[in-house]
Symmetry: C2
Subunit: 430 residues, 2 copies
Amino acid sequence: MLNKVHLGILGLGTVGSGVVSILQQNAQDIQTRTEYEIIIKRVLVLNPKEPQKITGDFELTDKADDILLDPEIDIIIEVIGGIEPARSFILKALHNGKHVITANKDLLALHGQELLQVAKEEGKDLFFEASVAGGIPIIAAMKQSLAANRISQIIGIINGTTNYILTAMADQGRDYQEVLAEAQKLGYAEADPTSDVEGLDAARKLAILASIAFNSRITLSDVYVEGISKITRDDLLYAAELGSTIKLLAIGKHQDEGIEIRVHPAIIPKTHPLASVSGVFNAIYIVGNAIGETMFYGRGAGSLPTGSAVVSDLMQVIRNIQTKSSAAINCSCYLDLPIKTSSEFFTSFYIRLLVIDEPKVLATLALLFAEANISFASIIQKPRENKEAEIVLVTHPCREGQLQEALDSVRAYSKVLNIKNVIRFETDSQ
Amino acid sequence: MLNKVHLGILGLGTVGSGVVSILQQNAQDIQTRTEYEIIIKRVLVLNPKEPQKITGDFELTDKADDILLDPEIDIIIEVIGGIEPARSFILKALHNGKHVITANKDLLALHGQELLQVAKEEGKDLFFEASVAGGIPIIAAMKQSLAANRISQIIGIINGTTNYILTAMADQGRDYQEVLAEAQKLGYAEADPTSDVEGLDAARKLAILASIAFNSRITLSDVYVEGISKITRDDLLYAAELGSTIKLLAIGKHQDEGIEIRVHPAIIPKTHPLASVSGVFNAIYIVGNAIGETMFYGRGAGSLPTGSAVVSDLMQVIRNIQTKSSAAINCSCYLDLPIKTSSEFFTSFYIRLLVIDEPKVLATLALLFAEANISFASIIQKPRENKEAEIVLVTHPCREGQLQEALDSVRAYSKVLNIKNVIRFETDSQ
């Protein structure tokens, strides 16, 4: 007779209904692959009397304890999101001997260490592949398939909303506000898009990814964050002129002096593997000292892709139950690496200025930058109305502290009317 | 005190020396991550007296039994390649209670089933991530991270030599023979390049990948194979004119009527995720019913990338030893799906013809194709010398049997001087 495993699911929203749908649709394959019959016993919803996104042979409840304290339930899937009560539910589940799978990036970015510690003490699995870039199995890849490597870089396009907006702006030469409004209409951006467009969502995911990549605990507050709301159509046109495009990148670099951990718009050459990642797709580019460059590409969100990550985690939890090897890979932060401040970041910069179109202005600018020890890799100058000119300066790589010094002098220079934008480059593969 | 695990390595060539190098260079991290001290005890080489690619604190031997029968050795890494004696060595190792990691695609494509069966009987792990697309952790991804999915398509660029050649031909408008010669000089192609350029290497890897993707045993002889040696500079120019490029694709599709399994040059739109995979890089594109489209990209060969796959497998074998859960995932071929013959393949075609440039020729061609129920999606016609014209016909999707029928009529048509090339399209994402 087939072994049975009993599930409790907390939440039946987008991800929860995806999980149920996959378990129903692929039931036969999943059963054959795991050699277990998976029974969804109870699902926590706000109002069990209301119609739900999906139906099935399971009980609905609005009392979490019906699930968390049910001795028959072996595994809990937490897909309600947010910090509380998700955190308390997961802790209670672990303390009551249940394995946990969660898709909750907010919670992990803040309380990952605590939760993994409790899972370890209780000898239970706590899996969270779905928390970052839903359809891309990046966490398992780093913990297992790339385990032989020292990872030096992880660079991701891990927010679909901003990538949709930047792709549309670049491809169609449209403005930020217009594309954002369209994305909201299509459901790719929230009514309040702040968390996405200002980079916070990507920062949370980066904190999780970089902790695993570099074996050192990184929390949300460690991440330098800048969003895309200041990127204009003109910036994208100049980027194209430079053979490049602009993406919101989540960047982690492990360098001799410490870790650079930052989310911001970045100009990347069109030849970079990340440059062709379009629309709502996500991708994560990793450099390891054995594997070299590698990239994982897929859907970062959505009911079924995220559900796929949850159910694949579930199948691994079941395998571990079967072989009595739960909790084999949990917290992997055995280092405590220093985090670099933004003044120590080392990149090239794109600086777009509006200046008075007079002789010597460019020469003076060059001098001001030279005083901060910064030289230019390329310069674009275009005439504008009223005897003004727009200048785009591309610097050679420098420390960000140097750049701020130079920008202070530039701001004080009377021929400069406006520093329209400053954008970092991400150029080096390897 | 730290647990110890003893290794024997069969072969110290490109991959073997990569494995040793990673174990030396990343020793501290690997030890912390596995909580085991890894001791390379003995390495099998042809001549232990000669200098080797890499040195270390291990014993060289030319007697396989010194390794296969050594009771202290827990894990064998087979990186000699070829069918025999590799097969016998692996079987002997398994029968003598050793876990095995191999990078041997030739062997697995032929004898995978036998070896996995023996591993299962002996309760040992037999891992082979390195056998396909070295630096891309695709096997673990399919067996674990995508396990919740029914995979409907797997399409790979999994031969670096041919991708290098086609990329150079496309980017530089050069001819096949010239680029092949250059690739041989640079070490990207063998002196006898047949196995790469005629698609055999990709077919072996595809047999392994598709067996795992579709849970049905597929061997080399099941794969329809066509190489790139007939692709010309002109074909690449026409492909570019069609907004596309040409890649040697390894294609597996699980359809209602059975499995399509084929390696051949294919025209793909420049917007396809695989189109921008350049040079010696490899990539594998997968469509699953939950995850949608996903792609894995990286180096497909080389000492360190392949070594990375071997050592990451090794770390998993060690974790399994530690948790006493070896042999948990082995052969996953629980289905026995029919394989479609090439006449049943269903694609669009590019057909390049040299014809006599007279009125009605195009109309007659259209009729000949219409008789086989094939219509055109687009047509390019260019004048050539001597009142000849070159015509490129792009068909709507049809069965390959229909196309062969039409081509028979075309061949018999006196105004057609030459069917210069016929190339399949791979257009549908999803």
